[in-house]
Symmetry: C2
Subunit: 101 residues, 2 copies
DNA sequence: TTGACACATAAGAATATTCATATATAGTAT
DNA sequence: ATACTATATATGAATATTCTTATGTGTCAA
């Protein structure tokens, strides 16, 4: 843990805030947590795991993909999503490690 | 960095998502960053540092205080805010350390 | 008490988010 | 081509967020 604490510049703040906002939603955070633990999941699996509507799952997944948080790969009829932003993984680890969550 | 990756329970997800949402706004993240670097600042100082309206500063500060992210102390005519949620500090460190921000 | 300064709050308009419903598209098998 | 499954998208209603403007409150000093 470095203690430099340099001021974040405006563009860094915007970028980081956008990422944090993106994962700062219960459904999206659950998806992130699931993908962090399982590596990859298709839409139906995510939808069933969280007990949400198909459209809602798809909407959140597409939002996170648009923001660069997730990436997807199609395999036949299935689309598998995984985490694509290392900052997101770090924040999840941080939450697990330091916040008793 | 432990690698346990236990599933976050519903209430942990809600709590964490609320905190992340709270800091996932450019103005609020800048305030967090400022307070992380300086320890404590009064409203006018924050307002001038960020170049925002007094009411906006006050609104964001009060929001973060309501969510348990910040705490304030009055000294005469000034009100000084500081970070009151260790998870927030950890996330900021995490961003600094791992994300080249 | 009055004035000045620091901060908080109320109210509302503009905008954004979220979810539900319905429909569309893509891939696969028959 | 048809049917079926998986996923995406369009639309709109309900709600939430953000900012601006205006006003209120607290503290201190004269």
């Amino acid at each position: 843990m470095t203690e430099s604490r340099k001021k974040l510049d405006v563009s860094a703040v915007r970028t980081a805030a956008a990422m944090l906002k993106c994962i700062g939603h219960p459904v999206r955070l659950q998806i992130i947590d699931l993908l962090d633990r399982t590596g990859e999941r298709n839409v139906t699996a995510i939808q069933e795991e969280l007990g949400i509507e198909q459209a809602v799952a798809s909407q959140h997944l597409n939002l996170m993909q648009d923001k660069g948080v997730l990436i997807s790969r199609r395999d036949g009829v299935n689309v598998y999503y995984r985490i694509d932003d290392p900052r997101v993984t770090e924040v999840i680890y941080c939450i697990h490690d330091h916040c008793d969550l």
